[in-house]
């Protein structure tokens, strides 16, 4: 139960006590709200008194009479606007004056309650205001969340993109100043390392592109029947050059019907990421295996590797954006920290699940289940 504070500013005692009485046992509930809202009413007979109360504690809702003995309602409104208080103001007006209404709206009043009002009129106004206030707060907290992600995004971008740039720039300067000698052979390591860093940056950029491509919804028109065995085989071909370099063997076992209804682009993203991880975080000469099976209406895809593994605490955040396990073993592996979060997002688009079991230094087993028909 959440309580919203209401301040009624009106010189008529009857109006003030009326509001208090009507809102006393009133509560507002919406299907999408976590909890019901109830109201606590404070009263002020003049604008000056109202401001005093606002200064002590800013209410959530103000019901404001325009015609007051001292300062007018419109002045109170202006005061609130200048102080930028987060409060919804509804004007109580005894007569319809277009001029006042226009000024009040301009100054931030969101609702008008005609005077005299019936309990039902007051309740429906309060209900509307509550909904507005609720939505405003939700949007605000979502923005905050968005800011946090943007912040994380920037720090990773800044670090992961600038580090290779710095490295490459450093090597180029060494070459320009001929610091290692005059022969091209003297620069084998700088050239080799620069190319390696360029590749790392390319991977990061590709991941970022994938990341921005992921939609919040599946494109239903792109969903077709496809064979996961073929998707897997295609992804293995893509990763193969890298696997040969690391001497990692990749096996594929299809245990049952591997057809599924999905967007091929989405499944490519999943398999490419999972298989390239299985190679990337493997040890030289290790192996990776993909098993495609069914469990009732779900496709079950298991990716196992003989790699460096993940500790229990690290695996908890593994599917979070920009999460990278930083330790001695991952030091020379470049990554954006996006791959697994991209996979998770795609899998969740299909109401699927992804989980991991891992033993450090022995390997990891990722299991994905996706409904075959969506």
């Amino acid at each position: 139960m959440a309580v919203l504070k209401v301040l009624v500013i009106d010189d008529e005692p009857g109006i003030r006590s009326g509001v208090t009485r009507i809102l006393q046992n009133f509560h507002v509930a919406y299907p999408f709200m976590d909890e019901d809202y109830t109201y606590e009413v404070n009263e002020a007979a003049t604008g000056e008194e109202g401001i005093e109360i606002i200064e002590r504690e800013v209410p959530d809702i103000i019901l404001l009479d325009n015609k007051l003995p001292g300062m007018q309602g419109i002045d109170v409104l202006e005061y609130i606007r200048e102080k930028k208080y987060d409060v919804v103001v509804a004007m109580i007006t005894s007569y319809a004056s277009l001029d006042v209404a226009v000024r009040a709206t301009r100054d931030g009043a969101t609702d008008f309650i005609p005077k005299p009002f019936t309990p039902q009129e007051l309740k429906s106004s309060i209900e509307n205001i509550t909904k507005q206030q609720y939505l405003k707060r939700i949007t605000h907290s979502m923005n905050q969340e968005g800011k946090k992600i943007r912040y994380q995004f920037l720090s990773v971008l800044s670090h992961e993109l600038k580090a290779p740039l710095n490295a490459i720039e450093g090597y180029l300067r060494m070459m320009k100043e001929r610091e290692c000698g005059d022969r091209i052979e003297d620069y084998e390591t700088p050239v080799e390392r620069s190319l390696h860093r360029v590749q790392g940056m390319r991977n990061l950029i590709m991941d970022l592109l994938d990341f921005t491509k992921i939609r919040l919804e599946r494109k239903q028109e792109k969903v077709i029947e496809l064979d996961l065995a073929e998707v897997a085989a295609g992804a293995i071909v893509t990763v193969q050059p890298y696997a040969i370099q690391k001497e990692v063997s990749i096996g594929l076992k299809v245990k049952s019907d591997s057809r599924i209804m999905a967007d091929p682009t989405d499944m490519d993203i999943v398999f490419n990421n999972m298989i390239s991880n299985a190679v990337k975080y493997n040890k030289n000469g290790g192996s990776a295996e993909i098993i495609i099976d069914s469990d009732g209406d779900d496709s079950i895809i298991v990716f196992s590797d003989t790699g460096i593994g993940i500790s229990k605490e690290d695996s908890e955040n593994l599917f979070t954006e920009f999460m990278r396990v930083r330790n001695e073993k991952t030091r020379n592996i470049t990554g954006s920290g996006l791959g697994l979060s991209i996979v998770r997002k795609v899998v969740e688009l299909y109401n699927g699940k992804i989980s991991v079991e891992s033993t450090p230094d022995e390997g990891s087993v990722f299991t994905i289940s996706i409904p075959k028909n969506i």
Binding site: N166, A167, G170, Y171, E179, R193, R326
Partner: protein
Amino acid sequence: MKKSDFTILVADDDPDYLMQTLFHLGKAGYRTIKAESQAEAESIISRFRPDLAIFDLMMESDDSGFILCYRLKKKYPDVPVILATAVAHETGIGFSLDSQQERTWIRADRYLEKGIRPEQLDLEIMKLLKI
């Protein structure tokens, strides 16, 4: 005293940055000792007193460099420390040693953004070592 009388500890988990820094410091005439991780740097500090240290900020954890500064200053209060990072100021995550408050909790003598020219780094080091 000349440059070859000083040993500089460089800790960085970026193999290229580490290699380049060691190369330039060596060329400038300093003796160097390297650490590829925070853990390795800690173990070196525990048994060896460098004349100056250059720490990368983000290694195993995002604040590895801060921790190393703290450890080093605790054991050898007089050894100057340079903190280096690729995290840019523009992102709003940057920090400096300009305010008193920052100086109290960042135990470094200089804070440098990576990408600094070798000559400039050498100048900073000479100032800190009073060469």
